[in-house]
């Protein structure tokens, strides 16, 4: 009897798997609200389009992710969506995918490979642009004069490097804009708070603005500023990148001044790319996601529509 039910289940699985396209999605993990929103977006878009999605969470480990991609290939999926943990080391496994004629769509982070025919397209935000937008917004807000504390993301990660570079480009025209300290808070709220506390002790009232590479660190910094008796949003201008729901709440409360959105809702774009690749169309190597700037003026209207 038990055997029979297993058999029936297996048959069922076969029958269900034959018809619609099967797409494997190899995700980094679930380390932040942003990433969870990205996962949800891809899952729900797959459901909308009637695509069977095989989801694998690499728990932040590259070896797990390579294994997942190889598993997808062995299983004979129609296409693979990959959000790579790190930039290097993808040559061998993507070669395998290419030989099996399975198109690979990269989302949110790029990779370094010698042969760029190994993937169909990359769908990602332009981190440099995000940094530049934040820098320009801040310069305008403070009329080109500020003592800035920069809270960097994980050392060596692409978003941290690029958001730093872009911000510097954004403020380079203004000689009064000075970065007085730049330290890593590892994209975490708790670390953002700790680093901010230390910097307040060291620089005190020299600090008139904070630029954080993500919202979580900015929210930590806001806490530290409040505890030191300052008014974030007034005494110290705070700008950050990501545009998560908590950041919108803080903007409505007047504590955060600006957040440059880094859109995680890549599902629709990713599956557009998958469908085009499966139809044999040629895709541009990079598709840039349009990012918007939100500040206290428009935060209130947008807040109710924020899902993440």
């Amino acid at each position: 009897m038990k055997h029979l039910s297993v058999l029936v289940l297996a048959l069922f699985a076969c029958a269900a798997a034959k018809k619609p396209a099967v797409v494997g999605f190899a995700q980094v993990g679930a380390e932040s609200a942003w990433r969870t929103a990205e996962t949800e977006s891809i899952k729900s878009e797959a459901a909308n389009r009637g695509i069977t999605l095989k989801f694998s969470d690499a728990q932040g480990k590259q070896e797990n992710q390579i294994r997942a991609v190889r598993g997808f290939i062995a299983q004979g999926v129609d296409a693979i969506i990959l959000a790579p943990v790190v930039e290097t080391g993808w040559g061998p496994v993507l070669q395998e995918a290419k030989r099996a004629k399975i198109p690979v769509v990269l989302v949110d982070r790029g990779i370094k490979v010698a042969d760029d025919t190994l993937y169909a397209t990359l769908i990602a935000s332009d981190f440099v642009e995000e940094g530049r937008l934040a820098g320009e917004w801040l310069a305008k807000k403070v009329n080109g004069k500020a003592g800035i504390v920069e809270l960097q993301g994980t050392p060596g990660s692409a978003p941290a490097l690029d958001r730093k570079k872009g911000f510097e480009q954004g403020i380079t025209k203004y000689s009064g804009m000075k970065i007085i300290a730049s330290q890593s808070g590892d994209f975490r709220r708790s670390q953002g708070k700790e680093v901010m506390e230390a910097l307040i002790k060291k620089h005190g009232n020299e600090i008139t603005a904070v630029y954080a590479h993500n919202d979580d660190m900015a929210l930590g910094a806001i806490q530290a500023l409040e505890e030191s008796g300052r008014k974030p949003g007034n005494d110290v201008i705070v700008v950050s990148v990501d545009g998560v729901k908590d950041a919108f709440n803080a903007m409505v409360e007047g504590k955060l001044n600006c957040s440059v959105e880094c859109n995680p809702l890549l599902g629709p774009m990713a599956f557009d790319a998958v469908e085009k690749a499966l139809a044999g169309q040629k895709l541009p190597k990079k598709t840039v996601v349009q990012d918007k700037v939100f500040d206290q003026a428009n935060a209130k209207e947008v807040l109710p529509t924020r899902k993440y």
Partner: protein, 310 residues
Amino acid sequence: MLVFLGLYGFAAARYDGFFTLRVFVNLLGDNSFLGVAAVGMTFVILSGGIDLSVGSVLAFTTIFIATLVGKHGMHPAAAIVIALALGASMGAGMGWLIHRYELPPFLVTLGGMFFARGMAFVVSQESVEIAHPFYSAVQGFGVPFSERVSVPATALVFLMVFAVGVFLAHYARFGMNVYALGGSEGSARLMGLPVGRTKVTVYALSGFCSAVAGVVASFYMGSGNPAIGVGFELDVIASVVIGGTLLSGGVGTLAGTLAGVLIFGTIQSALVFDGRLNSWWLRIVVGALLLVFILFQRFLARTSAVLRTT
């Protein structure tokens, strides 16, 4: 072994395309570094010790080779030889400390774990790509099995290390010494066995295997990464114990370890094939299996003790 066959059978019935040669070959290739490290770990555990430095030595080896090849233009073969020697000597050093000063292996290898991880990040903070014709040649190499499936070099290394391990454990004097040492250190000493030399060799072997695992991982990823293999040593220990080796030493086989590694790999592959379950289920299943096995072993040990006394 039965558990492995059962699991594989279940997964094969459940998921379309699981019962293919390709998936089985992938199982060997994808778990080759786990398997290689598990062979070394089996000797350590058989001798009554433990080695926690495995994951860090693996990470150090990958980034060390990548940096030598990528940044200093050294030939990969030379870099690999140096890395293997480093792994083995680090293991020997830990073994010597454990033997000479009668220190607990847990703490000495914990120190080794931090040391190797730290060194890996000193060598490089970021992952480094290995682009060298030698690497592409090895990665592209495979023993063709059928027209679509070929056995990759990583799987071959695993099988070779395993074969050497079986020889050492069951057909060489060294293996006998390890079993005797794990059974009872006091009696091993009384029997006049070279206790010190065996201990140092066991840890050197484990260090060497970890370095081989690192080499395999560097081929697998085509790069070196100082952050990989965090918690890897625990996966290795779990595979060995699920394979029936007693943590107290003296009892166990390498064939069991192979089964343990394959069980680990099968669960992971089955989760990818399913594609709906949370991948953390791997940990839950392995944890449950581990508990079941320990209880089972305790039960066996008790019944055999009862049989002996009556």
